[in-house]
Amino acid sequence: MPGSQSNDSPNSKRSYGKDTLRPVTIKQLQDATHPHPDAEYFIIDGAEATQVTFVGQIRNISTQTTNVTYRMDDGTGTMEVKVWIDAEEFNGEENQAVAKPKPVEQGYARVWGRLKAFNNKRHVGANIIRPLQDFNEIQYHLLEATAVHLFFTRGPPESATAQQSKTGGAQANGMANGHAAVGGEGLPAGTSQATKKVYQLISTLPQGHEGVHVQQIAMAGNMEVSEVLKATDDLNGMGKIYSTVNEETFALLSF
């Protein structure tokens, strides 16, 4: 791909499978944690982020021999964006004639690229920078970035999970006294994935009157026992399950 850096390829095999393209704000890029200095990815909201996209205003353009550096500002911070110059692109004059609209200073543009850290300074190595045709894309992007941020920090929106929990959801909601926001599976929004999984397992595993043992849950869910215990603790606290014959055996509290 023109503009992509050749040093991306050698050891990025592992990440191709889980490569994602994440809409972000520049502040999120500044706040992202870098697991170790050579890591190919950053962590944003607890999730790996490799490719990112954002919309911002170009404050400054400086053309170097090997790349063009854009200083971009999206209202949440500023970030340098480097686009590597593809030598071949300048070969033919016809190419220039059909040239795509060029980013200009003070104009708005969307960037696609990869966050990088170099000498403790962050920049985005961009594959593409494209001037905006429609200013509504600024709003679109910021709302999309917010939605993705909320997905990672609070779980999927209720509407997306509502259908799955339609059966029994009505009764469960009636019993979830005090929980204003009831997420999927009748659990409050913000419940961790592990806790949701354990709740799912306790509801579905075959069991007698005394419920299921944590060992059984761990095996069925392929989880650590400690992880299961933490989840059962959470669920116990929510009043969703209760311990039966001993402290490590639980049954569902609803109906």
Binding site: Q30, D73, G75, F135, H149
Partner: protein, 109 residues
């Protein structure tokens, strides 16, 4: 970080006095070096020399909120006739900016 310019509308101005903000509004009045922008209410702005505002156009302003809740313009971008911009989306962005400020700006306190 002070580099950020949070997106605001008129009701937020008081909360951001003496800070740099970003306002997307409709140009309602031009009076020489001053103008009135409608963004969730009228905002009085003091123009700089290279601000070229047009009546009934959408404009994005970066500026500093003054004591009297007017805004001193540092930069402005004309965004074309106001019908081109979906102001419901603009309103939603301002709401999200302050509701989920963790991805937009650092709250001072």
């Amino acid at each position: 970080m002070s580099e950020s310019t949070p997106r605001v509308t008129a009701p937020y101005l008081e909360q951001f006095s003496h800070q740099n903000v970003r306002i997307l509004g409709k140009v309602r009045q031009l009076r020489g070096e001053q103008a009135t922008i409608d963004a969730g209410g009228n905002i009085n702005v003091h123009l700089n020399r290279d601000a070229h505002l047009q009546l009934n156009h959408a404009v994005e302003i970066i500026g500093k909120v003054q004591n009297d809740l007017s805004v001193k313009v540092m930069a402005s971008v004309d965004m074309g006739p106001e019908g081109n911009i979906d102001f419901n989306a603009v309103e939603a962005v301002v709401d999200a900016t302050h509701r989920y400020h963790e991805i937009f700006y650092t709250k001072e306190q």
